[in-house]
Symmetry: C2
Subunit: 202 residues, 2 copies
């Protein structure tokens, strides 16, 4: 089950290739958006939907591998499928090490690309769900005041209230107040919950 608005981005400097790939993908019901160079893709403001990137290695201006590096750098973890006519082993190894999902040499079978896209979109969907949960968690954490964060750190380290009070130089009563605020703001139903949240926050 593909999510409704899943989109495939294609970056290739050869217009005929772009059209061929677009046609192939549209034939199986995928939404496609094409770009002729890396900069054009970088500028484009993407919707927040599952997506993947079909990327030629050899491009005018920024190379495919360099674009991959830039995206990683920027924290844009869109799954990348490389396609290239002039690839070699070191290039493919570098791309895979940098986290590419697939590396296909032209000519490749249509089905190989479609399979890779299917897998990449599923992967991205999972990653988005995980990312959204992490973002929600972080957002809740951001609502904590400085002191509450310090108290939370003590709690998840298993400190007793009196020990926490000592560390923070306050009374146990104040620690209890902080604790209540922490549990409420983080929407944690138990200390166990809070510990798991803290683990995910890193």
């Amino acid at each position: 089950m593909r999510p409704p608005a899943a989109t495939v981005f294609v970056v290739d400097d050869d217009e005929s290739v772009r059209e061929a790939l677009s046609s192939l993908m549209r034939s199986v019901g995928l939404r496609v958006k094409t770009f002729s160079c890396g900069a054009e893709f970088t500028r484009y403001e993407r919707e927040d939907v599952p997506a993947c990137l079909v990327l030629d290695v050899r491009l005018p201006g920024v190379s495919g591998l360099e674009l991959q590096r830039q995206l990683t750098e920027a924290g844009t973890d869109i799954p990348i499928i490389f396609v290239t006519a002039h690839g070699d082993i070191p290039m493919s190894v570098r791309a895979m090490k940098a986290g590419a999902m697939e590396f296909l040499s032209k000519p490749f079978r249509d089905q190989d690309l479609l399979d890779a896209i299917e897998k990449a979109l599923e992967h991205d969907e999972c990653a988005r769900i995980a990312h959204a949960q992490a973002a929600g968690l972080r957002a809740r954490y951001e609502t904590l005041t400085l002191r509450e964060r310090e108290a939370m750190a003590c709690v998840v380290r298993g400190r007793l209230n009196k020990q926490t009070a000592d560390e923070l130089g306050i009374t146990e009563i104040t620690v209890k107040v902080h604790r209540r605020h922490i549990m409420a703001k983080m929407q944690a139903k138990s200390v166990a919950d809070l510990v798991r949240m803290a683990e995910k926050l890193g």
Copy 2:
């Protein structure tokens, strides 16, 4: 700092290659053990020290990629560096997707191999440390009785003792006894500790 007994395993059917690689590695102080086919390596009983595997893709009998699959299957997660004279892109991509650390085409520069080995050994050392910790944790968990495990599951889910008692159909007093045993056997100094342990146990 390389650990003292780190060992590099080489599987290649060409004796001259084995000797050349051995010589290269020994020249930088690495311990080496060579094999002429996959089965020979599989049979060999390795010491429990940091290691990596330099593996030719084309081998008599079991291929390098197949050996990689077998090792993964068996839970042997030794880092693998592929070397091959007759490689192609799909082969390298498959190897990397299956978790290979590196894929080098012959001829390659000696330093490239040595760099890859260095990285693989470091990786294996980290993995071994993590694995040892996980094993210790699991060993402690194994000492828990059935009932204690059930109680632990409740505790890490944030249940109150009375709720746990309800779920297990016992009194709160008994739950407290179980809890004490759990904390002692797991060597957890706090509930927070225990939750983290449970997370690692999966």
